[in-house]
Symmetry: C2
Subunit: 226 residues, 2 copies
């Protein structure tokens, strides 16, 4: 019998996978602006593949709430807005707290090691490569929750993370964290987590989100006032 055929990372990704990652990245970074029509033909040419994998990728993105499907009228990237941002922030705080408590409760050595490693990598990454940094940042936050045993909860947290990241890209340069010491906040969360200090870890994590959230919301307000 084959040994771990499903974990093999060597195989090249399917067209669907490529399309999914490509379109997702374009939406997250804002290269495709909110509300824009996603024409199959355009994406076909841009990504050089048939229509089927494109459609399938867009369908996957619909469930991520990054794309909306209009029956018989194709797809468009999801709209953004202040209310949407606020609800995502609120849900994230609730669900990530649940997940973090579960995660610390089921913590083990492997979890701890991965957490420390991802923290280290994130801290060492220069901030000028935004996409690369955001990737490591996400990995760190997800590793924090990784020992949580509820697959569904983790999926929700993951989805919400991506929905949120979009707003950070939209905020763009304004959000270079220059006014806050984000690094030390992350370190504090990690330390509390490895100490199995659930209350402290949750408190700092939520505070971390609330602050970033308030920052983005202010930005949103001033922009809307233009």
């Amino acid at each position: 019998m084959n040994i771990q055929p499903q974990i093999d990372p060597g195989q090249e990704p399917s067209a669907t996978q490529r399309a999914y990652l490509a379109v997702r990245q374009m939406i997250l970074t804002g290269e495709i602006p909110p509300g824009e029509k996603l024409k199959i033909e355009n994406l076909r040419k841009k990504l050089d593949m048939g229509g089927s994998p494109i459609r399938e990728a867009l369908t996957l993105l619909v469930s991520d709430l990054l794309v909306e499907r209009l029956d018989q009228r194709g797809f468009r990237s999801a709209e953004v807005g202040r209310e949407n941002f606020a609800e995502i922030l609120k849900l994230r705080c609730h669900l990530e707290e649940m997940a973090l408590r579960e995660s610390i409760a089921h913590a083990n050595q492997v979890w701890e090691d991965n957490l420390v490693i991802s923290h280290h990598r994130m801290m060492r990454e220069p901030r000028n490569n935004v996409e690369r940094f955001e990737d490591l940042h996400k990995t760190f936050h997800m590793n924090l929750l990784a020992a949580c045993t509820s697959k569904v909860l983790l999926k929700f947290c993951n989805q919400l993370y991506d929905l949120n990241i979009r707003y950070r890209y939209l905020a763009g340069r304004a959000l270079d964290y220059s006014t806050r010491d984000i690094g030390s906040e992350h370190t504090a969360i990690m330390n509390a987590a490895v100490d199995r200090d659930t209350e402290t870890a949750c408190h700092i994590l939520l505070d971390h989100y609330q602050r970033t959230g308030a920052f983005l919301e202010r930005l949103f307000t001033s922009e809307a006032a233009e």
Copy 2:
């Protein structure tokens, strides 16, 4: 300009939509058992359509967590299990409580009317048509939350509801509610909701879920012991 072209219910559904609803129903009711391979060719013949809408429907179901995709190896219906059931129950309790509080906070006349109507219809439906009853039951519960302003939260609740319903069908005849007065529980929840009595409504709702959960869990245990 057209008037409300998107709300028009008269148009016949797309093939994708038909496939989605058909396969979803088969999985929820257990006609397709957990873990079963979903072969495109079989479904093609059964639903009399091409492969594309089938694949698209299955992709939609992946995001509902009712179907799993095995890269390059097709699709299968999601597995069930006691842990899975437990995590869904727990998440539902958390999220529906959030949603119910929000919903009551934003309650208005339309919401109240719809809630009363759906309650009435559910109560009048004879229990022998299980699928029809389950449909009305879901409508009632979703109407309870409908005034909640967070679209994402409602989507999550909806998903979790469907994941849970599967276990009720799996339990089958055993769960005919004969030992409990489910009707009065629903009525009590509705009354508390229309009275805007948030605490009572939440309390009864959660109790309602916990009881049904405990009932199903017992069933699971005795079955696993065979």
